[in-house]
């Protein structure tokens, strides 16, 4: 039996190749898939978030750690689905219509996946209709919107209205973030949560789902 602490270390250091290899071997040895996620990967990403918050890690290290976890999760997710295990919540995440910037969205995706959330990454330039479809067809519990531009911020309000019109607003919590976004703007459009940082997004998601 291999030392599973190495999986924690591989995610923490962004070593995708090792994370995948250790996961493959552990699964072959009969280790519970959920144990790999909950006892090794999530704590590793939690530590990544802590290091990011206190300026020990920066964006490259965070993205590489997320990639390492994602590669390992791809092996585990089908097994979790087959066993009926549920994610903490399912998040439909995207940069709003008209906005093609993705780094903020990618950072939030990394942190949410590390926090045990299933992330449906809708990409950039996501229309209100695509967010609505993600709620209706994929069962998202959280809609998370990102915008970098003041000119695209209003698409967040339009999406809120689309969720309302489609009759699904009550089914989801809406989180927003991005450089021009403020708590005041989040309050103005009726979003359930706002975070100034990617790492903070996990805490906000946890809070709104409590």
């Amino acid at each position: 039996m291999q030392d599973l602490k190495l999986l924690h270390e591989a995610v923490l250091t962004g070593d995708a190749k090792s994370a995948k290899a250790i996961t493959e071997k552990a699964l072959a040895e009969g280790v519970e898939p959920l144990k790999l996620v909950q006892d090794y990967m999530m704590p590793a990403m939690s530590e990544v978030g802590r290091r990011f918050e206190c300026n020990e890690y920066f964006v490259p290290e965070l993205l590489l750690a997320a990639r390492a976890m994602k590669g390992a999760l791809e092996l585990i997710r089908p097994l979790l689905t087959a066993s009926g295990a549920k994610p903490t919540a399912r998040v439909a995440l995207g940069t709003v219509k008209g906005d093609l910037h993705d780094i903020g969205k990618n950072l939030v995706a990394a942190m949410l996946e590390g926090g045990g959330y299933e992330v449906i990454d809708l990409g950039v330039n996501v229309t209100p209709e695509q967010f609505v479809a993600a709620v209706k067809e994929k069962g998202a519990n959280i809609v998370a919107m990102s915008a970098l531009l003041t000119t695209t911020m209003p698409a967040m309000k339009t999406t809120m209205e689309a969720l309302q019109s489609a009759g699904v607003r009550h089914q989801v919590k809406v989180l927003i973030g991005g450089a021009p976004i403020t708590q005041k703007y989040a309050d103005d459009i009726g979003a359930d949560g706002f975070s100034e940082s990617a790492a903070g997004a996990v805490a906000i998601a946890k809070k709104v789902m409590a």
């Binding site: 964006v59 490259p60 590489l64 910037h101 531009l149 003041t150 000119t151 021009p180 403020t182 703007y185």
Partner: protein, 335 residues
Amino acid sequence: MARNCFNRFVLASTRPVAMPIAVYPGLALTGAKVCDVVTNPQAQFDAQVALHDRYRTPFVLSAMDLSAEAEAFGCTLHLSETEIPTVTGRLVASLEQAQKLSVPQPGDKRTAVYLETVRRLRRLPEKPLVFGGCIGPFSLAARLVGVSEAMEMTVTEPDLMHLLLEKCTAFLTAYLRAFRQAGADGVVMAEPAAGLLSPRSLSQLSSAYIKSIGTAMADGHFAIILHNCAAKVLHLPAMLETGLHSFHFGAPMDLVAALGKVPADVVVCGNLDPSGVFVQSSPAEITARVMELMKATAARRNFVLSSGCDVPPATPLDNLDAFYLALKIMPAPRR
């Protein structure tokens, strides 16, 4: 002795100095659209001159558009009437593509718009200091490979990144020379992506290349004002390695701490939030924020009040009015 014209002006001023990075708000006065400003030098000139006339600014700028240089390299863009263009997709995804990438010439594609705008601004009879706008080498390289991808490639593909950085530096050095030939007194060089790196990576992947550009341009007059709206205090020593003397920071920078760490002849500009303050606040709130920041920086002579990044087109003119009005009632900087 200040090393460039911008610092000389700031350090000699008997009044507090402001230089928000603002061209697009002038559209409210000219009636043009963002797409006009980024494609037509006359529209860009008109927007800047409209603000210059309204506020009697000692500086004029060409617009901040961090897609023009990437487009000159061959990147595709998303264009719209109301937004500054955005780079789409990835031009370079492998070392082989990076090796084959040609370095464009200043004036290729829309870089000609910015050079021509500077040429026209130079002819203003009041002779304000004229600054062009350009991207920094790391931020340009990041646009060529994709910004998210670039972050990972700083660790996984350092050779590719350094090769791109050499090509970006070659282009930017030539572009800055072209700005100088067009009559610019300097440039505001935007290097935001480097602020997402560790200080060590910023030093290796940004500052080292900017230092080479700065050395090539040093003539005792031409100013390179290095803008980094993502940098924090912990990045400051690595940014000072550029050897530059003028810096412009965004909201994450603790300006008071920064002013305490730089030599007295280094000018620090910043950092009212462009969206949260300039767009979303009321004029009264702007007045309060200006006074708060000026008080916090103790009217240091080497401080220039500014926006933390490009002031968005949607900024109400009442808010810019309040910004400049508040500055007028501030006391003289400390000697």
